[in-house]
Amino acid sequence: MAEANPTDFPTVLGPDATFKGEMSFEKGMRLMGRFEGKINTAGRLHISREAKLAADVDAGAIIVEGEVKGNLSASDRIELKSTARYEGDLRASKLVVDEGAVFQGQVSVGPDVVKNRPPMQQGGGVVRPMANTGQPGFPPAVQQGQPLK
């Protein structure tokens, strides 16, 4: 994977950190440690290879390289990289699965899925409406996978 610009992920939870609770942020977060709870953001969440996440996530885009248990919802896309281990329900406009990724759960993918989704349980969380809703610059969705013979 290309090295991301540090400004893409201003928030970083380091490899020796453990967080329990609810988190919201605006731009992006790179998770390298352990997280339990809930994440709300219109930005990007990157779950690194060494990270462990047990949470319900509502984000703009989610990239999974590590181990995740919980429900993921993304208004744009969810990417499961080859090292991803994911168990839970998934809801997104687009899904990208790399070869080698392992996941299990209910999948709802489509352009209308996130628009018509039931509201997430807020639980008193801090979910701010985003003034700048511009999503980070993803290239247009690319068809994945190798052609079958």
């Binding site: 209910q106 899925v113 190798q146 079958l148």
Partner: protein, 149 residues
């Protein structure tokens, strides 16, 4: 066709190895065979690729080849068992594939999916329970193969 080519010196060029859809055991068959009986579980196996080009409702689609649902096709079935699946149109039914599942852009797949790898095109619509990755093969009591003599 997704038959696994056999490169071993023990297998002549006109023989290939296929994996039984039901017991997961390899069977060596003639390259031009259209159907065989698994020598382990004695189930009949179709080896042909299956292609759908229009609306079709079927109880089951079972083949050791590759199932292709073309763009204008709409397939409604209880289950699809194959060694590879390509969906460019619409498919409603549970899918078990021993090879990759490729869901093209704008395709629609409604049903539960079990497969080692998944590739999803942009704009595809998915709905169902997914098990993707190297999952443990189901343990079955399968009688030993009859001796060659």
């Amino acid at each position: 066709m997704s038959r696994i080519p056999s490169y071993g010196s023990s297998t002549p060029d006109d023989r290939i190895t296929i994996v039984c859809l039901y017991c997961g055991k390899p069977n060596e068959v003639g390259r031009r065979a259209m159907s065989v009986t698994c020598k382990y579980c004695y189930k009949s196996l179709t080896l042909k690729d299956v292609q759908f080009k229009a609306y079709e409702a079927r109880r089951a689609v079972e083949t050791c080849g590759i199932v292709t649902v073309e763009k204008k096709a709409n397939v409604v079935t209880d289950r699809v068992m194959a060694s590879g699946l390509i969906v460019r149109g619409k498919l409603k039914g549970d899918v078990t594939s021993s090879g990759p599942v490729l869901i093209g852009p704008e395709a629609e797949l409604k049903g539960n999916v079990t497969a080692p790898t998944l590739a999803v095109g942009a704009g595809a619509i998915l709905d169902g329970k997914y098990k993707i990755g190297n999952l443990e093969p189901p343990a079955r009591d399968v009688p030993p193969p009859p001796s060659a003599s």
